[in-house]
Every structure is written in structure tokens, then in C-alpha cells.
Amino acid sequence: MPVEYTEKSLLKYSQRIIELFKNPKNVGEMENPTVTVSEGDPQCGDMMQMSLKIEGNKILDAKFLSFGCAANIATGSAVTEMIKGKTLDEAEKLSIKEVSDSLGGLPALKMHCAVLAHKTLRKAIREYRQKIEELKT
């Protein structure tokens, strides 16, 4: 079992992540959301619920709930903050890297948390569009 020596990233959070973890934005339930979805699974240790208020093509408000680690909470906060006021198309283009960068970088081992917030957002947009499609037909 030869091992190639590579540095293991520490589980080290940026100051920004700790800030958002302490005081997350947009956390909570939303009254009358346009769409609410959940991603992840408590069995895997992280889960996120996201609610969007959408008018026309625009995200007016976004809120989230989190069962997860600090990275999960901070990315939930960052993602919801970044998409408020954006069009659905713009929000959809938001990359994981942008989210991570806005947090001053995520520890390598925590990238999956950024991915979860991102996946939840995409799922919300997808579900919203589906609903629209269904309403149309």
C-alpha cells in the first residue's frame, strides 16, 4: 500500500465563514414562498432547505434552513445572499467557485458543503420552472 505523500488540508475555516456561521443571513422559514426544496440527507450529516420568492424572472427573497456544519450554514447564507435580486438565469450561472471565493475559500474537505447549497439552489430553480411548465400545460 504505497502512499503518495500529499498534504492533507486541515479543517480550517476562514474568518468570513465563522462570521456567517455565527450570524447567518436569510436563515429561517419563509412565509408564502414561491418554491421550497430540500437537498441532502440527515443520514449523510448535512441537509439544506431553501425557499425562494420569485416574481417574473427575478428572485426577490431567499431563505434557508440547515442541518449541517459551519460550512453548510455559511454557504447557505452566502448563496441566498448572492442570489437575491438576481434573475433565475443569473442565479443558475452562479458557480461553486464564486460561492467559495465569497467565503474566503472553503477547506478542501468542506467543498461538499458548498456543493450542497449550490445543488439546493439549482433544485429550487428547476422545481420552480417545472411548476411553471405544469401551470402552462
Partner: protein, 396 residues
């Protein structure tokens, strides 16, 4: 959420401990005054060698062993590796079968996995929902190829005190010689150990979990126990453990042991009181909690471990940290492998509950006021996190 306060409460003594003041004082002369190399004939060297001997004596006495049966290592990880692989290799002509449990520390499990990859056969005992191994299963598994049993004394995560003495008795009554290793890293200084009464051949301990320094561990090895060194190189005092001894750390280890065993029962009573206070407080003040490990006399006096349902452990841990409280978590998120604790899995805890496990580990230096503070902060942290959790009470 909560405003940080000035109180600092360290409840992660199972991970590492603060070096005691007396320990550091005892160590200090060995950095700049008595800094000699213990193999050296001149007086500075003799001073160092004498200091190592004194530490051996103190530690030997604390477990009812003989001075020369104590070898110093860099920690319990190294002591476990040396004991288990060392005895496995030295006895491989007699057999290749080893028995351990599913709830050992990684420092034992990784060694066993390596031995498996080298052709040894390792059986991992199941444990019951409180973490106790099954003596009948152990007896059933022993066969004529069995050479070694390795069992932890106290489970570092959930505080279960394994029936070491009973295991020792079983091994003593066998007609064949099966060596018995005990990883006592989590029990030393908290639960009494007697290598004679318990019929132990090898026992691992580490200084940094008893208010000694990092960098010193010890292996007790019963006289005439065949062991092969697993590392090699320049031999200083211990042929089985090459390399220059960490004299100041060894001196500190000796002093830490002295402090732990001087008034041992009083210390244990103190920890038990705090433990029970914390457990009662948690169960009174917080709903939807799950205790891990047993209650009462068969639980380590230093260990408290609960899952707080619907919240994730790392978040709890970090909020407590922001409030000056240090604890550990069984949550996957704080580990490299992103898997929930193997111990919680082995005792049958569901992953969604394991992710919310928080371990509080006490030392004799903790105070009742500290527990009060924790019982003030913790319920608020849990409440706040549950408020932002998408999982509703009763969901699992």
C-alpha cells in the same frame, strides 16, 4: 447567536489535556540545566538517565508493574503499534489469529488492518448497545492459532469500561499462551489498573491525556514477553524503541502520573460528581437527547456523550467554542473520512443521530461552576440550532 463570554471551559480532556503547573515545573530543568543525553557516561547524562528511571518507577507503581517493564515511546499510538505488531510478529510461528473489538481507537484498528494485509487473521468482537464486549463471543473465537487479544480499557468516545479483568481471567485459564494487550490511553488516571490482577501482558498509556506533555507515551511489557521492535535505528535506553528519549517529556509524564495517583480516589469522585451533574442537567434541560454508553459504575468517570437530535455536531461544537467551551463530536463533518464515528455505528446508533453526538470529557481540574456554565450555554445553542434546522422534532 450567543455573545461570547470570558469563561473558558475545557471539556475535551479525552483528546488532550492542559499540562499541569507542577508537571511543567518538573520538566523545566531538563531543557537547559539537566539537558544531557541519557546514554552518556558523564554526569549530565547520568542525571538524564536517573530522571528516566524515576519516571519509570512512578509509572510502574501506578499500575503495579516493575520499573524495568516500562518502555517510553512518543505516545499511545506508537505504544499500541509496538505492542500489537511487536507481539504479533514475535509470535507468528505459533499462530496468526488476533482478537480485538469493533470499537477500538484508530491507533489499534489501523494496526490490525495492516496485520490483516500481512496475512494475520483478525476477529473484531461485536459490542452491545452500551459498548460492552461479549465474553462468550470472545471465548468462542479463541482457537489454537490465537496469539494475541487487544482490548481497550475505557472506550475513549463513549466511556464504556470493558471487562478487562474478566478477559484476563479467561486468558489465564487457557492451556495455550495468548498474550493480552490493553490500550489504556483513555482509562489511565481515571479507572484503576493493576496489570497483575488483570493479567495484562502489555499496556499502552500516554502523558498528554493526564495533564502531562505531548510527546511521551509508555508501554508496559511484562518481563519475558516476546516482542519484536517495529522501528529500528540508534538504540539509546530501550532496545525495543530506538531513538533519543524525550527526557523532559518523560520527566513530565512521571510527574503527571504522580499527581494523578496521589489522591486518585478523590479525583475520581470529583469527576464522577461533575459527570453526573452534567448528565442530569442535560437530561433535565434539553429534550430529544440520546445518551451514548452506559450509566453508573461501568462508565468512565470522565466521559459524557450525548446526541442532540436534529442538529449537527460540528455546529454545536463551534458554537460552544465561540462561548469558550471545548468539546469533541462524533459528527462526520469534523473528520477526514466524513463518516460518522465507528464506535457509534458499532453500538447501533443511526447515522442521523450519530451526527449530533457531542463528547464532554472531564478532568480533575474541572469545576462545578464550569458545569453550571455549560448547562447555561448548551441548551441555548441547541435551541438556536434546532430553530434553523429543517428537521422537525419527532422526525427521527
Amino acid at each position: 447567536m450567543l455573545e461570547p463570554r470570558n469563561m473558558r471551559v475545557y471539556l475535551d480532556n479525552g483528546t488532550t489535556t492542559q499540562v499541569a503547573k507542577e508537571v511543567l515545573e518538573e520538566m523545566l530543568p531538563y531543557f537547559r540545566e539537566k539537558f544531557g543525553h541519557p546514554t552518556f557516561v558523564y554526569s549530565l547524562g547520568q542525571e538524564a538517565a536517573d530522571a528516566v528511571e524515576r519516571a519509570q518507577e512512578i509509572i510502574a507503581e501506578s499500575i503495579n508493574a516493575k520499573r524495568e517493564e516500562i518502555i517510553f515511546t512518543s505516545g499511545a499510538t506508537e505504544a499500541n503499534d509496538l505492542a500489537i505488531r511487536g507481539m504479533a510478529y514475535a509470535n507468528k510461528k505459533r499462530g496468526n489469529h488476533i482478537i480485538t473489538t469493533k470499537v477500538e481507537n484508530p491507533s489499534v484498528l489501523r494496526v490490525c488492518e495492516r496485520l490483516e494485509s500481512e496475512g494475520f487473521k483478525v476477529d473484531y468482537l461485536d459490542v452491545d448497545p452500551q459498548g460492552f464486549l461479549d465474553l462468550n463471543q470472545l471465548e468462542d473465537l479463541i482457537n489454537d492459532k490465537t496469539i494475541l487479544i487487544s482490548i481497550m480499557h475505557v472506550n475513549d468516545e463513549i466511556g464504556t469500561i470493558e471487562p478487562i479483568e474478566e478477559v484476563g481471567k479467561i486468558l489465564q485459564e487457557l492451556r495455550q499462551r495468548v498474550y493480552f494487550h490493553v490500550n489504556a490511553a483513555a482509562s489511565y488516571g481515571r479507572v484503576p489498573i493493576d496489570v497483575e490482577r488483570m493479567n495484562i501482558d502489555a499496556l499502552s498509556i500516554t502523558a498528554h491525556k493526564i495533564h502531562g506533555p505531548k510527546g511521551a507515551g509508555a508501554l508496559y511489557l511484562r518481563t519475558n514477553t516476546p516482542v519484536e521492535p517495529v522501528t529500528c535505528g540508534y538504540v539509546s535506553l530501550f532496545p525495543l524503541r530506538p531513538g533519543t528519549e524525550n527526557v523532559p517529556a518523560i520527566v513530565g509524564f512521571g510527574k503527571a502520573a504522580e499527581l494523578a495517583f496521589d489522591g486518585f480516589e478523590k479525583h475520581v469522585e470529583h469527576m464522577k460528581r461533575l459527570r453526573d451533574k452534567l448528565m442530569n442537567g442535560i437530561e433535565e434541560k434539553i429534550q430529544h437527547v440520546v445518551l451514548h454508553g452506559p450509566r453508573g459504575e461501568r462508565r468512565s468517570p470522565a466521559n459524557v456523550n450525548y446526541s442532540f437530535k436534529y442538529v449537527e455536531g460540528e455546529s454545536v461544537l463551534l458554537h460552544l467554542d465561540l462561548n469558550g467551551i471545548s468539546v469533541a463530536t462524533g459528527s462526520a463533518c469534523s473528520t477526514r473520512k466524513l463518516e460518522p464515528s465507528h464506535v457509534l455505528t458499532a453500538i447501533g446508533v443511526k447515522p442521523e443521530i450519530a451526527h449530533g453526538a457531542i463528547r464532554f470529557t472531564l478532568s480533575r481540574y474541572n469545576t462545578s461552576e464550569e458545569i453550571d456554565y455549560v448547562l447555561e450555554v448548551l441548551p441555548k445553542v441547541i435551541e438556536n440550532l434546532r430553530r434553523i434546522s429543517p428537521i422537525k422534532a419527532g422526525q427521527f
